[in-house]
C-alpha cells in the first residue's frame, strides 16, 4: 500500500460524512427549490424556476439590507469588545489563560435558545434590569421596553457569537512574539503607535477570521430576532424559517436558501483569497 493510497483511505470517512450530511441534503434543497408542493405540503419535484424569480421581488430588499446591517453591527461590536478581551488574556492571562478561555466558551454548553431566553429574563418588562431601575427609583411604570427592539436583537447576536471573535484573535495574539511589542517600545513608539504598527498587523488574520466566523452565521440567524425582536427586526433567516414552519411555501424558502448561500459563498471566497495573500502581516 503506497502512502498515497493510505491518505486517500483516511479521507474516506470525512468525505462520506460530507457527502451524506452536506452534499446530499444540499442536493435535496436544490431539488425542492425547483419544485412545488402537493396538498399535504410535501415537495413535488419539477421545473419551476419562477421560485427564483420571486427572490428578486423588491419586497425582500429591506429584509436583506436589515440582515446585512445587523450582521455588520454585530461583527463590529464583537470586534470592539472581543479584541481587548483576547488581548488581556493573551498578554496578561499568565497561567490562567486556558481557564479564562474555557470560561468564555462555557456559556456554549447551554442550549442556544435557553441563552437567548436568558436575555429575555434579564431585559424583559418584568425582568432583572427593569426591576433594578424600579428599585433605584427610575421610571418603572410603564417599564422600559428593551426587548422587541433592533437593539435587543443585535445585543443578543453579539452575546451569541462573541466567542467566535475572541478565539481566533486570541490564537493570533498568542502566536505573536511578545518581544515585537517590546521592540516597538524600544523604538520610542507610543502604545497607540506600537499597537497600530505592530500588534494590529500581526493579528489581522485573526481579526478577519473572527469577522467571517461572526458575520456569516449572523446573516442567517433567525431565533434571536424571533425571540428578542419586534415587528421591525424581520431578518432573511426569519423569512426562510417562515416558509418551512409557519405556513409559507417551502420551494420559495429553498430558493431563498440557495441564493443566500451563494451570496455568503462569495464573501467566503473573498476571505480565502485575502487570507492566502502574503502581503498582510507584520513578520
Amino acid at each position: 500500500m503506497t502512502s498515497n493510497r493510505l491518505w486517500r483511505l483516511l479521507l474516506t470517512p470525512g468525505a462520506l460524512w460530507l457527502l451524506l450530511l452536506f452534499v446530499a441534503p444540499f442536493g435535496v434543497v436544490v431539488a425542492v427549490s425547483l419544485g412545488t408542493t402537493d396538498i399535504l405540503g410535501r415537495p413535488v419535484f419539477g421545473w419551476f424556476p419562477e421560485n427564483y424569480q420571486q427572490v428578486l421581488d423588491p419586497l425582500f430588499v429591506p429584509v436583506l439590507l436589515r440582515s446585512a446591517a445587523f450582521a455588520v453591527g454585530t461583527t463590529l461590536l464583537c470586534l470592539v469588545t472581543g479584541y481587548p478581551v483576547a488581548y488581556m488574556i493573551a498578554r496578561f492571562g499568565g497561567r490562567y489563560r486556558n481557564l479564562l478561555i474555557v470560561l468564555i466558551i462555557l456559556p456554549w454548553f447551554a442550549d442556544y435558545l435557553v441563552r437567548i431566553y436568558a436575555w429575555f429574563v434579564i431585559l424583559g418588562n418584568e425582568g432583572v434590569v427593569n426591576g433594578l431601575l424600579h428599585a433605584i427609583g427610575l421610571p418603572g411604570n410603564p417599564p422600559i421596553s428593551f426587548v422587541n427592539t433592533p437593539f435587543a436583537v443585535v445585543g443578543g447576536l453579539v452575546y451569541d457569537y462573541l466567542p467566535f471573535m475572541i478565539l481566533p484573535i486570541y490564537a493570533a495574539l498568542e502566536r505573536m512574539d511578545p518581544s515585537l511589542i517590546e521592540a516597538g517600545k524600544d523604538l520610542y513608539g507610543t502604545p497607540l503607535q506600537t499597537f497600530s504598527h505592530v500588534t494590529w498587523p500581526a493579528t489581522i488574520q485573526g481579526v478577519i477570521a473572527g469577522c467571517v466566523l461572526v458575520g456569516l452565521p449572523t446573516v442567517g440567524d433567525f431565533a434571536t430576532a424571533q425571540i428578542l425582536g419586534g415587528p421591525n427586526t424581520y431578518m432573511i433567516g426569519n423569512l426562510i424559517n417562515d416558509q418551512f414552519t409557519n405556513g409559507g411555501y417551502p420551494p420559495f424558502g429553498a430558493a431563498l436558501t440557495i441564493v443566500l448561500m451563494a451570496m455568503l459563498f462569495l464573501v467566503m471566497i473573498f476571505y480565502l483569497r485575502s487570507a492566502s495573500s502574503p502581503s498582510q502581516g507584520a513578520a
Binding site: 419586497l59 435558545l113 410603564p142 414552519t245 405556513g247
Partner: protein, 380 residues
C-alpha cells in the same frame, strides 16, 4: 430552572420551538419526506380499514404542549397497563412534516382544515364508531362534519374562537366589539398591542374588518388588508403566537388571541378580574381540532381505546378543567359552561362553532399568494 423557562415560554400555538426543531428534526423530517417518491393526493377509500378498540401496545402520542390533562393520561396508563409516550409539536406545519415523514405516531390532533387535507390524501386510519362506547357523547353535527364526511377518520377534540384580549387596568377604554378596535387602540397603546404571528389569523382579521371573505383568494382584497395592517405596524409590539407568555409577563396589554389561551392567562393570573376578551361583530373565526389515527400508526387499537377513554364524561370534564377549551362532547361543553359562568365574555356554544367562520389553510397557488402578502406585512 430551564424547564420552568420552557414551560412559561411555550403554549399550544407557539411556533418558536418549531423553529428550533426546524434546525434539526423538522428539516430532517421534511427532507425525509422528500425521498418518498412522488406524493400525490389519493381519493379516500370507500371502505376504510377499521381497527378494533383493544390494547395493542404503548401509545405514541403527538400533541401540542399542555393540551391534554396529564392526570387523565396517568389514569389511562394505570387502567390499561400501557405507557403513553408523549411528543409535542408547535404548529400544524411541523406536525404535518413529521406525519409526511412517516413517523409512526398512534394518535395526533390536527385542526379541521388539516383533517380535510389528510382525509383527501388518504393518510388516516378509519374509525368505527361502534368500537367507541362513548361515541354518543359526540354532538350530532360532528357525525358528519364538513372536513370529514360521516366522521370516518376523526373524532372532534376542542373548540375555539379568535378575538381580542385586553387588561382593563392599563386599558380602561370601552371597546366596540369590532376588529377596528385594534386600529383605534394601536396609536394610544403603541408597543403594547400584539398581533398573532399567524398569516391566517392576522390577514383574516384585517380582511374581516374590510368586510371581505376570511379566506379570500383575491389579490386586491389581500393587498387592501395588508396595507391596513401596515398603517398600524409601527405601533405593534410584536407579531407573536407566544400569546400566553406575552400577556403573563406584562409585555402585551392588548393581544389578538385564542379563547382558550386567554382562559389559561386568566386562570393563572394573580388578578384575573383585569382581563377581558371580545369577539368581533364583523366575523368570529372559529375552529375545532380532532383526534386522528395516522396511517403509519403501529398501535391503532390502543389509540382507539384512548379516544374512547377521553370521550367518557368524567375524563372529558377533568380535561376541560385542565386546559380551558370546550372539549366537543356533551359533558365537555357542559363543564366548559360551568367553568366560564363567571366569565361571560368567554362563553362559547356549539352553535357558534358550527356556524362560525372557518379559516381554511390555503394550498397551491393561493398559498403562494397568501404567503407573499404576509411577507409584505412582516418584511416592510
Amino acid at each position: 430552572m430551564a424547564s420552568d423557562i420552557w414551560k412559561a415560554a411555550f403554549n399550544r400555538r407557539d411556533f418558536l420551538r418549531g423553529s428550533a426543531a426546524l434546525g434539526l428534526g423538522g428539516a430532517a423530517a421534511y427532507l425525509a419526506a422528500c425521498g418518498t417518491g412522488t406524493p400525490t393526493a389519493v381519493a379516500p377509500v370507500a371502505t376504510p380499514h377499521y381497527p378494533k378498540a383493544q390494547i395493542d401496545g404503548d401509545l405514541e402520542f403527538f400533541n401540542w404542549n399542555q393540551y391534554l390533562d396529564p392526570v387523565t393520561i396517568k389514569k389511562f396508563e394505570k387502567n390499561y397497563g400501557v405507557k403513553v409516550k408523549q411528543t409535542n409539536f408547535d404548529n400544524m406545519q411541523s406536525m404535518m412534516a413529521k406525519l409526511n415523514a412517516g413517523i409512526p405516531y398512534d394518535i395526533t390532533f390536527p385542526t379541521m382544515d388539516f383533517v380535510d387535507q389528510l382525509v383527501k390524501a388518504n393518510a388516516l386510519i378509519g374509525i368505527d364508531h361502534s368500537q367507541l362506547q362513548n361515541w354518543n357523547e359526540v354532538p350530532s353535527y360532528f357525525n358528519n362534519p364538513w372536513y370529514d364526511p360521516h366522521a370516518f377518520y376523526s373524532v372532534p377534540y376542542a373548540l375555539w374562537t379568535t378575538g381580542l384580549a385586553w387588561r382593563t387596568d392599563h386599558v380602561p377604554d370601552t371597546l366596540a366589539g369590532s376588529w377596528n378596535d385594534i386600529w383605534t387602540l394601536a396609536p394610544k397603546y403603541s408597543g403594547k398591542l400584539f398581533l398573532l404571528d399567524d398569516f391566517q389569523e392576522t390577514l383574516g382579521m384585517s380582511l374581516l374588518r374590510n368586510h371581505k371573505d376570511v379566506n379570500s383568494g383575491s389579490r386586491s382584497d389581500l393587498d387592501a388588508a395588508v396595507s391596513e395592517i401596515l398603517k398600524i405596524k409601527s405601533h405593534v409590539g410584536k407579531f407573536s403566537t407566544d400569546d400566553i407568555t406575552n400577556m403573563n409577563n406584562n409585555s402585551a396589554w392588548i393581544h389578538h388571541t385564542w379563547s382558550g389561551d386567554i382562559y389559561q392567562v386568566i386562570s393563572g393570573a394573580t388578578h384575573p378580574e383585569i382581563w377581558r376578551y371580545e369577539t368581533a361583530s364583523e366575523g368570529v373565526p372559529t375552529g375545532n381540532d380532532t383526534f386522528v389515527i395516522p396511517k403509519a400508526a403501529k398501535h391503532p387499537g390502543t389509540a382507539l381505546k384512548f379516544i374512547d377513554f377521553m370521550l367518557a364524561p368524567e375524563n372529558a370534564r377533568a380535561n376541560v378543567n385542565y386546559f380551558g377549551y370546550p372539549q366537543v362532547t356533551t359533558s365537555g361543553i357542559d363543564e366548559y359552561q360551568k367553568l366560564v359562568a363567571q366569565l361571560p365574555f368567554l362563553s362559547l356554544t356549539l352553535d357558534t362553532a358550527i356556524h362560525g367562520l372557518r379559516e381554511i389553510v390555503p394550498t397551491g397557488s393561493k398559498l403562494q399568494l397568501w404567503d407573499s402578502e404576509w411577507t409584505k406585512v412582516k418584511a416592510g
